[in-house]
Symmetry: C2
Subunit: 394 residues, 2 copies
């Protein structure tokens, strides 16, 4: 056994953008949600967290576990991170007890390095990808036999929506009923291959850190909104069932209508919070109007907007409707943000104001689509000596 | 009996701004609401409709009833106007039947002239004041003995919220339960004299005609919002009771909190409509933030925002808190819009952005307060020959 060995495992993990929103915890300690949610996992070619987990007997015990996120040291002693690390170590310890020839990795300090290729905390689900990558990388380092669904129970404790980023394609997070949260986990609704034509165009209206964090915002909603209970208990269960059916039948019209009214319902409950929470700004509303305008002009739902806890608009559409959707929306954006597509529909004159707001307000566009779950990679961010790998030009 | 006589009666009628909102009809034909509402009648020194109703055997029958609103001819043959005129004529006819010496005014064409001293259909409750003035003026012309509450049944059929403008002070509109609407009428919660210190500062963010009319908007909400039923059946009844108690006890803290969350609840249901309805723009949100900022800084609720179906912010406050409220908000507005008051609180630095949005977005400010109901006036807009009175400089 090499006593100086640096043990390493690396993974990339995807962002997911919910079409049935997670908002509200029934148990803030265990990150148990008031309602189920459902998301599309996005391609890691475009948005990903890349994480290397390493451990070694040579790492100084006094420093404890460490995490560098985009080159900045982050605490791993928050309750959420501790919950993940403790669970993963405990699973590793079981393996070690059953097989004493295994190196005692659970007793070594962990050094973790993580990089996002997109701005942190800008409503782009960075914490989801981050915790999914963290859990997946450590599980790989520890050679844990647990399935992604089982690991999702652990990632959930780091960041609720992270549990959905452990799977690719179309993923539900079932709220569950048990007090210990053991049934509150990710479930595959359909793999990417079932409906690979799903595309997402992300209109970045602001890459600034948001005013109201999801964690504090959602608990304010639970505590003060009079409409929220109806949403959690009546509206979302109905929409979840309908959305699963739409995905099963590859019915974009159904998918899109539900996604849009779900986004509206979530933001309505934010507005019904005391004091009210606002994520949708003038740019967001302009995007909503233009998506509606495209659908009206085409005569069916070819594009669907959804907004997480931020002003950025995610527009879902099918590859077959690229010409209509991107052709039209690209014409409402600053030159050069997205490759022009010929043949988009002409929007009604009444939308000139919305076009102008979008043109001025959208600073960046990310074109992506449905993708796979976390992937093991050999591209380590920590070298064989336990040092951060210096990459040029990144 | 003077056969050429022009019979005239003139009234002014007030605007009212609801603190428990009317949104949704259970019977669109009779204008019966899904929920009760409650408003403050505003002073006619600042906002009013001035209406002269006249009738005469000399008016050409072929022309029928006519209405000039702000010098523009308006139809009186809409179902809503017809409902009012038919009811009022029928009440007059009963008087004439009982007393044949009365001139048969009910058989003469009506000529009505009406002027608002504020922009029409800009979310400033112009239709409320308009129909209240129309009904009150014709009732006076016909010397009807009905009480304002009884007349409110008629005004309601013209424009729902008009029923509340027939009374001064603090006025409820009870939704009622009967199918014929005979219990859906205005009720005095408290006269102006009970709590005369109530002030309203109206921040006019736009005097443009609104995109989505209240009438079509509210029925879209009833038809498509999943959260609306909870609002109408659970939230509003609770808030109505609490608001009446707050007014009874002259409890501004209670009044303000309920008013703000009621406004939020209403606009949340607009956002939950399919497609979503938006009345709150960036300027509205800036006003909300600044009102919250004042309250936080002062340490109690001294100002309360509310928004009707438009972006204009109505800020209620008590005369005793003028220094804090106006002193502070005036500093966030363009020079000259409102008289400066010394000694407003200093807002937190974080609100600089909101101040700038308000400074750029508010074009006009109306300072007013709680006021009386319609008032009979001798200032007629129609002269003794039945012609429009030409006023210079108006």
């Amino acid at each position: 056994m090499a006593e100086n060995k640096i043990y390493r495992a690396s993974t990339t993990a995807p962002v997911n953008i919910a079409v049935i929103k997670y908002w509200g915890k029934r148990d803030p300690h265990l990150n148990l949600p008031t309602n189920s949610s459902l998301s599309v996992t996005l391609s890691q070619s475009d948005l990903r967290t890349h994480t290397t987990a390493s451990c070694s007997p040579t790492y100084p015990p006094a420093e404890g576990d460490t995490l560098l996120l985009n080159s900045h040291p982050q605490s791993l002693s928050t309750p959420r991170s501790l919950a993940c690390l403790t669970s993963l170590r405990s699973l590793r310890r079981s393996l070690e007890s059953a097989n004493p020839s295994l190196p005692p990795l659970s007793s070594y300090p962990l050094h973790i390095i993580s990089t996002n290729n997109f701005p942190t905390a800008a409503g782009l689900a960075s914490s989801a990808a981050g915790f999914a990558a963290l859990v997946r990388a450590i599980a790989d380092l520890y050679t844990l036999p647990q399935s992604p669904e089982e690991l999702s129970l652990i990632a959930r404790q780091g960041s609720g929506s992270a549990c959905r980023s452990l799977l690719g394609g179309y993923v539900a997070w079932d709220a569950g009923h048990k007090g210990d949260g053991s049934d509150s986990r990710a479930r595959l609704v359909a793999p990417r291959s079932h409906w690979p034509e799903m595309r997402a165009m992300i209109l970045v209206a602001s890459a600034m850190k948001k005013d109201v964090s999801s964690t504090s915002g959602m608990q304010a909603t639970v505590a003060t909104s009079s409409l929220f209970r109806t949403r959690a208990e009546v509206v979302v269960p109905r929409e979840m069932a309908a959305m699963e059916k739409a995905i099963e039948g590859r019915d974009f019209e159904g998918f899109g209508k539900i996604a849009m009214r779900e986004s509206n319902s979530f933001h309505a409950c934010c507005l019904d919070t005391e004091p009210p929470i606002r994520y949708l700004n003038d740019v967001s509303w302009a995007a909503m109007q233009l998506v509606q305008g495209v659908n009206e002009k085409v005569g069916r739902v070819v594009a669907a907007y959804t907004f997480d806890a931020g002003p950025n608009c995610v527009v879902y559409f099918l590859e077959g409707d690229r010409r209509e959707v991107v052709g039209c929306l690209a014409g409402c954006l600053k030159e050069g943000l997205v490759e022009r597509v010929e043949g988009g529909v002409e929007l009604e004159d009444g939308l000139e104001g919305a076009k102008e707001v979008l043109r001025r307000g959208v600073s960046n566009v990310i074109m992506t689509g449905v993708g796979e779950g976390p992937v093991s990679v050999e591209d380590h961010l920590i070298d064989e000596k336990g040092e951060e790998v210096q990459k040029n030009g990144v």
